[in-house]
Amino acid sequence: MKYKVPLIFAFVCGILVVISEFIPHRPFNMLITTLQDWFMIISGFAILLGQISLFQSNIKKIKNKNPDWPFYLAGLISFAIMLVFGLLWGTQEYAGIFGQGDKIQAVVGMKPFDYLFNNAFMPLSATMFSLLAFFIASAAYRAFIIRSFESNLLMITAVIVMLGRTSFGGMLTSWLPEGLKFLHLPNLSDFIMEFPNSAAQRAILISAALGIIGSSLRIILGIERSYLGGEK
């Protein structure tokens, strides 16, 4: 019972979506619209589930004094503060329980939720990402060692494209005569992107698409059940 019914649900929903792609007639286009609306609402609850289980796991870590528990506590406190700010005074566009909170806006200069977004969330998120530049630099220095012909090919293309993608590259080869215009770095880099790169990316897209069709089919037909967890 615990497996049969969910699998039937998955089968019905999957087949309905596939059929409504090809059959325009009445019942199907109506059904697909309602299914899509339901999907959006349920996935809203799924995000809610994620947040609550984060809440749970953090509390558990704090309770049994996990080594970094003060940081998890700080995480929970910032979660609570941001949530309370969001619900009480709302965000830039939405009014909260206390309406637009003009008094607090006068004091803080903007809504507290947006204040935290601009001065805490934004710098954290942007800076986290910029770490990548450092990692790519050290990866280029250490990991980018020519091992085989293939990695040689990878490296030469990378150098051409990197030079082609900067203004410096353009100047480096701007002296080329008309006949050899093809070797002008930006043109060469655009050629690599337009033809060999698109060909290989297309091959990856096609084989990935076939893989996805296969996996989706197995899920709809109930052959693939691991998402329900456990025995076949």
């Binding site: 990856i204 052959i223 693939e224 967890g229």
Partner: protein, 366 residues
């Protein structure tokens, strides 16, 4: 003056009698969900006005254009309702306007014809997959070539056991609705089974609650199958955050603090892949990666010992599990690839020969 209107009136009246008037007629848009009508006319006049009867009796002007082979598609209609249209043809020479009327009801067809090639390919691949899967279930063994990235899975676990360090498995940063995550979980079940046998700890940080619960079930099953249900530690499979970068930062912390000997990044990855692979690289762990996300493959190829490229991720889960369904569907995919190659070659030949219909058939001209 009145004579002219009289004649045009009779003309009009007679045109209603013929099945299809040569001046003004309505065609149902074929093969659609019955929400559109194409109104056509062929009248020698420089501007004609198309009007539609609203339910309150008034006429709403929809479109004005030159009369010769005039055509307008009215959409957003209701298949159960009859719609009345009329065409006003002002004739300055006779300073009068004659009008043609017509009534039509859009029909709902049962199939989008222009999607025929789309349906055929989908059916061909699906039937191939179902055919191979049924055979695989009946025990027919299919050959799959050895995927080099998989040898690394065996030595990674061996290495982790020697060093007594845990294995870190990252099932990608997307939710269960991403097929790569599900293939990653299939590989996780095999990996957890091996880890249970060798008594090596396995850490699985998850980004979404559904992935978390599926991963816990999968690892629990693997430990039970390996005969070590009590060694299964649910807390090593935990939820971090929904945010892409909070998740990666959390995993970095784990890598630096717990120094796992083997890292597995299998599933769907985005910009954060390099942080994971680079930090893992610096902790000296042996790293296997696999994703169908083309934009992240260069990083994994550059910094990981082994990388499953694109569909190799799906093939690896079939190869590892030897599960008849996955083996069968992989053979189905291979059938699809041969079909793709044949179609492209045929398409190029027909294009070179100038027969445009072949490509148009596959493009599904709207």
């Amino acid at each position: 003056m009145r004579k002219v209107i009289l004649i045009s009136g009779i003309l009009l009246f007679s045109s209603l009698l013929f099945a299809k008037s040569i001046f003004f007629w309505i065609e149902d848009v074929p093969w659609d969900d019955g929400k559109a009508l194409t109104i056509k006319a062929n009248v020698s006049a420089d501007t004609v006005y198309l009007q539609k009867a609203l339910d309150d009796g008034k006429w709403q002007t929809l479109y004005a254009a030159n009369g010769t082979n005039f055509s307008y598609t009215d959409s957003g209609l209701n298949p159960d309702v009859k719609y009345q249209y009329r065409l006003l043809v002002p004739r300055p020479a006779f300073n009068d306007t004659i009008f043609f009327a017509a009534v039509a009801q859009p029909e709902e067809q049962w199939f989008y014809l222009h999607k025929l090639s789309y349906l055929l390919i989908l059916l061909a691949v699906s039937i191939a997959i179902i055919y191979y899967v049924q055979n695989a279930r009946k025990g027919k063994d299919y050959y799959i070539r050895r995927i080099s990235g998989l040898d690394c899975i065996e030595d990674s676990i061996g290495r982790a056991t020697e060093k007594g360090k845990p294995i870190l498995f990252v099932p990608g940063i997307m939710d269960l609705d991403d097929i790569q995550t599900i293939s990653s979980l299939t590989i996780l079940s095999h990996l957890a089974h091996k880890a249970a046998e060798y008594d090596t700890e396995i850490i699985v940080p998850c980004r979404f609650s559904m992935v978390l619960s599926a991963a816990r079930e999968v690892v629990k099953e693997a430990y039970i199958k390996a005969g070590k249900p009590d060694a299964y530690n649910q807390d090593r499979i935990f939820y971090l955050t929904d945010d892409q970068f909070g998740y990666v930062a959390g995993i970095d912390g784990i890598m630096v603090r717990e120094q796992p000997a083997a890292n597995f990044f299998l599933g769907s990855f985005y910009a954060e892949s390099l942080i994971l692979a680079e930090t893992g690289f610096s902790t000296g762990a042996i790293q296997t990666a696999g994703t169908a996300q083309a934009s992240q493959l260069p990083f994994f190829v550059v910094t990981c010992d082994y990388t499953l490229i694109g569909e190799e991720l799906f093939a690896a889960s079939a190869y590892l599990s030897r599960d008849p369904q996955q083996l069968g569907s992989l053979k189905g995919h291979d059938f699809g690839k041969l079909l793709v190659i044949i179609l492209i070659v045929a398409g190029v030949i027909t294009e070179m020969a100038g027969w445009q219909w072949f490509k148009a058939f596959f493009e599904g001209a709207q």
